[in-house]
């Protein structure tokens, strides 16, 4: 399990889980589960286009994540956010199938992109993930206070710093960055479950926001590690364990539910 060829998998999964856990805290606080689900899927054609053009997969994912942010932010103007997310997601997935159909490498790469593939991560990919992960986390630290304030009480934030539509852009941007690095590892379909499950469980264990953020990161890392270990032992896909363990986190959180859940209601 700790053989040399698994080393990259462990390192990348840890970095992805740290970012996902931290971003997930804000996803849960801002009720953006659908956007967190739609953005990774929206990035899916990016990977397909990258393989068609022969450029780096991370670049393709990043470009399409940014496109997704622009599309969702524009479509949701004066509209329902979830409709915007749903339509963007369907459109980009359809585009992804078309591109993958052209590039010829169909079944296996679709499965890997959607459900994740931890093995075979190159050193270059590792560095890309680390760089983008650091950017995402620094943005998060920079905007943590206003993001949290706006999530908990929009009116209070408007009174304190003025209502700014830019904050939504920043948030979606951070989401897009973490998406781009997470998609190749846990897959487009399951990135968000690593964000939502641990973060929603974390609310149950403490009612202080920053402590909850830390718990969320810890749970996400634990989930990712356990998923890799179980996947290695059973030879079953890693996506299955990520999905099920994240759901288990949520159920555990609800069972011992206290803290922020009651307060936020």
């Amino acid at each position: 399990m700790f053989a040399a060829f698994m080393a990259h998998a462990w390192i990348v999964a840890t970095m992805v889980a740290i970012v996902a856990g931290a971003v997930g805290f804000f996803v849960v606080a801002r009720r953006a589960a659908f956007a967190a689900h739609a953005l990774p899927l929206g990035a899916f054609p990016g990977a397909a286009a990258a393989s068609l053009l022969g450029v780096s997969q991370l670049l393709g994912l990043a470009v399409f994540s940014v496109l997704g942010v622009v599309a969702i932010a524009r479509l949701q103007r004066g509209e329902r956010r979830e409709v915007a997310s749903a339509l963007w997601l369907a459109l980009s997935l359809a585009l992804g199938t078309l591109l993958l159909g052209f590039s010829g490498q169909y079944v296996q790469s679709i499965y890997g992109l959607l459900f994740g593939e931890v093995l075979g991560i190159s050193r270059g990919q590792l560095e890309g993930v680390a760089a983008l992960g650091v950017v995402a986390l620094s943005l998060l630290v920079l905007f943590a206070r206003p993001l949290l304030l706006e999530s908990l009480s929009g009116d209070l934030a408007a009174a304190a710093v003025g209502r700014s539509p830019r904050l939504e852009w920043v948030f979606l941007g951070i989401l897009a960055l973490s998406t781009a690095i997470a998609v190749p590892v846990v897959g487009a379909l399951l990135v968000f479950s690593l964000m939502v499950g641990p973060a929603s469980a974390a609310r149950a264990f403490t009612d202080r926001p920053w402590r909850s953020l830390a718990v969320s990161v810890a749970l996400a890392v634990g989930t990712a590690w356990a998923a890799i270990a179980l996947s290695y032992l059973s030879n079953w896909p890693v996506g299955f364990f990520v999905g099920v363990l994240s759901a288990a986190c949520y159920v555990a959180g609800r069972l011992c539910g206290r803290g922020i859940v009651a307060q936020a209601a």
């Binding site: 009720r31 749903a86 339509l87 199938t97 959607l114 706006e150 079953w236 999905g243 936020a264």
Partner: protein, 296 residues
Amino acid sequence: MSLVLSVPGFLASEPVRIALAVGGGAALVCAVVGCATVMRRQSFAGHALADVSSAGGSAAYLLAVNPLFGFLGMAAAAAGVMEWADIREARERDLLTGVVLGAGLGLAALLLYFDATVRSVSGAAVTVLFGSMFTIPASIVPLALAVAAVALAASAIIHRPLLVSSLSADLARAQGVRVRAVALTHALALALAVSLSAMTVGAILATALLIGPAAAALRLAKRPVSAAVLAALIGLGATWGGIVLAYESFYWTPGHGWPVSFFIVTLIFCAYLIAGWMAGRPGTRPAAHPSGCEGP
């Protein structure tokens, strides 16, 4: 790129006729159920049901049963779980939907893996997730149309109480509406619609057929019934138009057709943009939502 459609040849093809029938039924049901879904702000739930149903579709390949049963069973089970949890606050409902979705997708990953390893059905992932309308077996048609009829009937029966309880649950209760029964019926109709849609355009694209035509129609129509009719027209037009284009695409890139789901989703998205443009012209825009409804 010639657009010379030989109509007799097109209609003589058995797969095309099946695709037209099943796709048309799916589009109709999705349009009607979709209007209620968009109005009730359940787009995410509808999308989640569709995605989760992919686990059922992959299980069906594993067990070698009719895939429609798989889609139906899983979508109905997920709808049951989400309705059973009966969470009032929007915040929690959103999260629970996400969690059910994640678990369902994880299960789909496992079952698709088994499809590939145990059954050696390598194309199952693509078929289940992205649909393959032209390979639907003829034996499914009567069942699919029956499912469509049931879902349409259920939506027609509950449409008034559902509308009232979408606007205000308290008001509905005061009028003697059994809110939970109505919500459960709607959730089951949603599951039926979604599994039909998953059958035709694929599980993860099913959302387009469910949300797209309804959202476009709701931008233009001022009354629920006219919205449903308009959505049905948009959905049917996009589905049948997509089938025609996919059939044509065999001539564009020789020997290699474009995916039919791609055309359907693109047509729906165009309809949505056009609807927004038409609604955006002065004097035609329906009343905006009260701003207090959305946002943190």
